[in-house]
């Protein structure tokens, strides 16, 4: 069964630009940075919209629902603190962006394109909570 990683893995270090994203994760909310002018989702935290060059971008709450777009099952961990197998994945989120994360709560052979998923949160360290996705 694919499960969240234990505390102690190499944890994200937020930047001033990304801090709101991690603060929202700690509240149990998945957010994305959306341009107020044209609606384009910024792929990484930024001051400027790459589509229309608008400077008003807002962290927006996602439904946390999506479908499995692509995945891998890792058996040789990146770092010994990771428990295998684990399943990094790209989720096509309902609001129209690709989220990189990991799938939990199923067997590796249940992973398939289009599987509906919902976000849930688990701590990676004392300071950081990570979004994961579970089949629904």
């Amino acid at each position: 069964m694919l499960a969240p990683q234990p505390k102690g893995i190499p944890a994200p270090v937020p930047s001033p630009l990304s801090q709101p994203y991690w603060d929202a994760c700690a509240r149990g909310e998945l957010t994305y940075l959306r341009c107020d002018t044209c609606g384009t989702v910024a792929p990484i935290p930024a001051l400027v919209c790459g589509q229309c060059l608008g400077r008003s971008l807002t962290w927006t709450r996602s439904s946390g629902r999506g479908t499995l777009y692509s995945w891998t099952v890792v058996w040789r961990p990146q770092h010994p603190t990771f428990h295998v197998p684990y399943a990094p994945a790209i989720v096509a989120v309902e609001e129209g962006w690709f989220h990189i994360g990991a799938v939990i709560g199923c067997e590796p052979d249940a992973l398939a394109a289009g599987v509906p998923l919902a976000v849930e949160f688990h701590p990676a360290s004392d300071d950081i909570v990570l979004p994961y996705f579970r089949p629904v």
Partner: protein, 381 residues
């Protein structure tokens, strides 16, 4: 219009010893060995070098007493060759040395190699590393087109058998391999088995470029740059490597990064994929060969798996990063160009493609969101 690289000749190439480990060497010292070897191969006096393109350009200028010289701190592969070519084409230098190497970097063997472990905040918590990032692209292609693990294994088998035959390869004599051998190796990041992945090694290399005029007085036969270009969709290992990611230039998705670059390179060269005798493709993972055949127009979208099974075009003939060497920073990228030059010279001790006139060399791959392309050939453009 005059060809941009008409007056630019590749006259020297060299690979140092490549090995899992080269005790006593650092990246800088093995790059120096690559530099000296390439100068010797060219028959160029070291004191004629007036430009260095390298991660270690300043150290090389100092140690070889080349000052005053141009130095370009380019740590990439094919783009460093193009920097060198531009220096000559624009008359800013006459003899340009490129050198690269990696040694003493991968010491903690309990984890994957340090250059494969991204620390970026959006990927680090998910245990992503190079194999997993590239697997996300490969998996999507399998979903869309039905590409099979056996087709991936066919790629790995071919490349590893080139390495098996090549006495210079780190994994010389380790085969021969069948597709079953590839599929039976342990799973690293599904769909990639261990033998679908590049390895890690240490080694250096060098390349020397000069003017056509000087090349005429050198002992060897020059090789020419026919066309080149680079594509990027952004920094590697920070965002989801989604096949369908598109930017303003919406007709080419991230999965086909390199397509625009190949089109530019073929356009400059006045060639098509049918003119290419060997594809010295960068091979971080087996799937990337299939993808590049599609991206560069050798076959239709989704047909790359069948194309490699058919096997009409040779690829990665020295054994590539799977079997020849993979020193980690950029030596293994420059080595694609070195192999292309060797093929066009007709000097390969193993896996020489008969009557090789044109080689297409590439760097990078979809999982890293970049792909560089250069065509080298026998005929002066």
């Amino acid at each position: 219009m005059t060809h941009p690289y008409r007056d630019v000749a590749i006259v020297g190439v060299h690979n140092t010893q490549q090995a899992r480990q080269l005790p006593g060497h650092t990246s800088s010292t093995i790059a120096m060995e690559g530099a000296l070897g390439a100068l010797a191969d060219a028959g160029v006096d070291v004191h004629d070098v007036d430009a260095v393109v390298s991660q270690f350009a300043q150290e090389l200028v100092l140690q070889l007493r080349l000052g005053p010289s141009t130095r370009v701190l380019n740590m990439l592969g094919i783009p460093s060759v193009l920097d060198a070519a531009s220096l000559i084409a624009e008359g800013r230098a006459e003899v340009v040395l490129i050198a690269a190497g990696g040694a003493g970097i991968y010491t903690d063997r309990s984890a994957t190699a340090p250059w494969t472990r991204p620390a970026n905040e959006f990927v680090v918590g998910y245990g992503l590393f190079t194999a997993a990032e590239f697997a996300l692209m490969a998996r999507r292609h399998m979903v869309m087109h039905g590409t099979t693990p056996e087709q991936l294994a066919t790629v790995a088998m071919r490349i590893r058998n080139h390495g098996h035959a090549n006495p210079q390869a780190v994994y010389f004599g380790r085969g021969p391999f069948t597709t079953d051998d590839i599929l039976a190796s342990r799973m690293v990041a599904d769909p990639f088995h261990l033998l679908d992945c590049s390895m890690t090694a240490e080694g250096g290399c060098g390349l020397v470029l000069t003017t056509a005029e000087r090349a005429a007085d050198l002992p060897g036969t020059p090789v020419w740059i026919l066309g080149a270009a680079s594509d990027s969709f952004g920094p590697a290992y920070q965002i989801a490597p989604a096949w369908d990611m598109k930017h303003h230039r919406g007709d080419i998705p991230a999965g086909y990064v390199g397509r625009r670059a190949a089109k530019i390179a073929f356009g400059t060269a006045g060639l098509t994929p049918a003119d290419v005798d060997t594809c010295e493709f960068y091979d971080p993972f087996s799937f990337e060969i299939i993808r590049q055949f599609e991206a560069f127009g050798f076959c239709g979208d989704g047909e790359g798996g069948a194309f490699v099974e058919e096997g009409s075009v040779p690829f990665t003939t020295d054994g590539g990063t799977m079997s020849f060497s993979h020193a980690g920073i950029n030596a293994q990228q420059i080595q694609r160009v070195i192999r292309g030059v060797e093929q066009v010279r007709g000097s390969c001790a193993t896996s020489q493609v008969p009557d090789c006139e044109v080689a297409l060399c590439s760097n990078g791959g979809s999982g890293a969101l970049f792909n560089d392309v250069v065509l080298v050939g026998k005929e002066r453009p």
